[in-house]
Symmetry: C2
Subunit: 400 residues, 2 copies
């Protein structure tokens, strides 16, 4: 299997992580976040439903992979780690009331002489449970523990050119899936039919390269659910005069480019006609303002002032750092585009700008994923930045 990045890129990442470890006084970092495991080692498999980790020793060039026996083969073929650093626990540790994989991991860490060091764990990351923390502490009574949350994520924020290239491919897939998804929307078609169409194109990708699974399923709240962003599709048919918000992400080698559009089924109502231009102006203002040196907090400020002119305000954050990830999220959990966020933009940082406006019974979402360039910002996708109107009167010949 060919690694998606040159081995030197992995080593450069690892070096940056070790510098962060040194800054935080961490000798041994236990990485349980699947995106961080992949980022440093290449490991890519749907095995994060059982406990697993990458062990980074500050004074060793190679990480250790610890996971389930049947996943060890995957660790050998998808990573640059030597086979002897792939250590597997027997299957009776899986979902057992007696044995816990973290007992096994603690034992390994002791055996390799690391049991008395300062150990960082990803305290608030997915898949690192309260029990995992307790069992590690029990198994490593002579170690001291530190919070290593976001330590790797901070390194991930600035992308390499190769990562940007993968995001460009993800963007082509996002454009394709949005085009086909929107095309399928018409009165009488079910939400699940459109979701199926979108999924088909997200996974099939282009003739040149296939798509990967996005970390969040396509979301398409419809009608009075457009005010509730995280509901998934149903099998109800679309209704003339209502709207659907499509939020999806193209994904390539686990790198995501999200894209959201609001689609009017038939002619949009007065409120949508009024709100959409405000959102579009706000997006454009933020994209125009974004450049190296500006903070995420300042991006929020220009957005706030723009929409305030029209009497609108927004409670939730406008966006977040985006890139490589696994379910349940494509965000990186570092920078948020919101009031006071001090993150200073740097070239090749990448964000999903999704300044949704939700009201009591409806909402508008139009989003762009952008890269910070040397002097400004650039969008990844090319899908028209507009309120999409699917007026079936113009499409009557095509209604199925």
């Amino acid at each position: 299997m060919v690694l998606p990045f040159d081995i030197l890129e992995y080593q450069k990442r690892l070096q940056a992580v070790k510098e962060n470890m040194a800054d935080r006084g961490i000798d041994v970092l236990l990485i349980t976040d699947p995106a961080n495991m992949n980022y440093l080692s290449g490991y890519d498999a749907w095995s994060f439903y059982v406990h697993q980790m990458l062990v980074i020793l500050i004074d060793e060039p190679q990480p250790l992979w610890i996971g389930r026996y049947q996943d060890a083969g995957g660790a050998k073929v998808t990573t640059w780690i030597y086979d002897e650093n792939v250590i597997a626990y027997p299957d009776y540790y899986v979902h057992s009331a007696v044995y816990h994989p973290m007992d096994f991991a603690a034992e390994i860490i002791r055996q390799i002489g690391q049991g008395k060091r300062r150990i960082g764990v990803e305290m608030d990351h997915y898949y690192f449970t309260g029990m995992a923390l307790e069992r590690l502490k029990q198994g490593l009574p002579d170690a001291s523990f530190a919070d290593g949350s976001l330590l790797v994520n901070q390194v991930r924020m600035v992308k390499s050119d190769q990562e940007i290239e993968y995001m460009r491919r993800a963007a082509r897939i996002a454009d394709l899936a949005m085009t086909q998804g929107v095309e399928s929307v018409r009165p009488g078609v079910r939400e699940c039919d459109t979701a199926a169409e979108i999924y088909y194109h997200l996974v099939k990708g282009t003739p040149e390269y296939g798509g990967d699974y996005p970390s969040i399923v396509p979301l398409l709240p419809t009608g009075d659910h457009t005010s509730i962003p995280h509901l998934t599709w149903t099998d109800r048919p679309f209704v003339e005069g209502s709207a659907v918000i499509i939020e999806l992400a193209g994904c390539y080698k686990r790198y995501h480019v999200p894209l959201a559009r609001t689609v009017a089924i038939g002619q949009p109502n007065e409120k949508m006609k009024q709100v959409a231009p405000v959102v579009l102006e706000g997006i454009q203002t933020v994209l125009d303002f974004a450049k190296p040196g500006v903070t995420c907090g300042e991006l929020e400020e220009v957005w706030r002032h723009t929409i305030k002119k029209y009497g609108y305000e927004k409670e939730a954050r406008l966006g977040y750092s985006v890139g490589m990830n696994y379910p349940p999220d494509w965000g990186e959990h570092t920078a948020s585009i919101r009031k006071g966020d001090p993150t200073v933009l740097q070239p090749n940082m990448t964000f999903h700008l999704i300044p949704a406006l939700w009201f009591d019974t409806d909402g508008i979402e139009i989003s762009e994923t952008f890269r910070v360039t040397d002097s400004g910002s650039e969008r990844f996708t090319t899908y028209p930045q507009e309120l999409v109107i699917r007026d079936h009167l113009d499409l009557s010949g095509q209604i199925s």
Copy 2:
């Protein structure tokens, strides 16, 4: 929005959970597992990427939902909980270095006079992080904590007739997706093309009802990756003379019926011809033996004896309790079909029996999801129980 179950069914579930709480001496149960939240309240949204919970008070008829502000609307429309029991935290708690949603939850629990009680948390469940545990303990210094892991899952093991009906629908979708997926496999077609085909049918479902997203993506390890079960698809083309293992699940209202088949691309090699009948005989023996009163450990025993006759043995468990779930798993984490598991089969328990045999460079997976009946067992799907052979010589007219 219509709830998928009668309100009486939710209340019956809640009653059973409260009995388990009483047995474990738990006064207040904080449920953070999205499947358990759904099971007791109906709550269904892709919001588990932020902290959220259902609070069960042993002496109150209504649970409390605590989650993010923008998800409160979803809690109101998808659950039977009164609107005043839906409590939302502001957006600045999301992915913040300062504020943590569990500080907010602890404050609410104190405010409602529950801060000095015995509080159960789902210690080893997805989405309950080490940090969540620590912040709850800090915020509730007068409470005592107990492990509530699997407390709800144990109630979930025996399904109601309505749940079985939903699994039957999931099974029809699984059959459909497997049929279409297998149909698409031929030399030159890429793994992602087949994965796209499968996803399309999983989501579109049937003309009568749509499909829901499965908690695990379709897995289709191919060629020498058939020995590595959890690798996801690539964009490499299928090659004549190799094999692909397709593992998928139909999903309806979050209820899963998984199904796996091994597909020979062209004529199968000698090893596959030899191993497949052994696996098939083992499956049939287990299905014939399964009935109320038998233990999961005994199921493993009959499998072991059956394959031992042919000189095979297997390290990993054969299967597990299955049903409603969210990513990253469709298993229920209670019973496993493995050596010594003491779980006694009862009518309407449901299992995914997936006795894979993996070798150094290949493997065979053929699976069945079954229900325990009053006197035996029954399969959910109807897809032929066999090694599937896609000999392109017979299909030459169809090669794209």
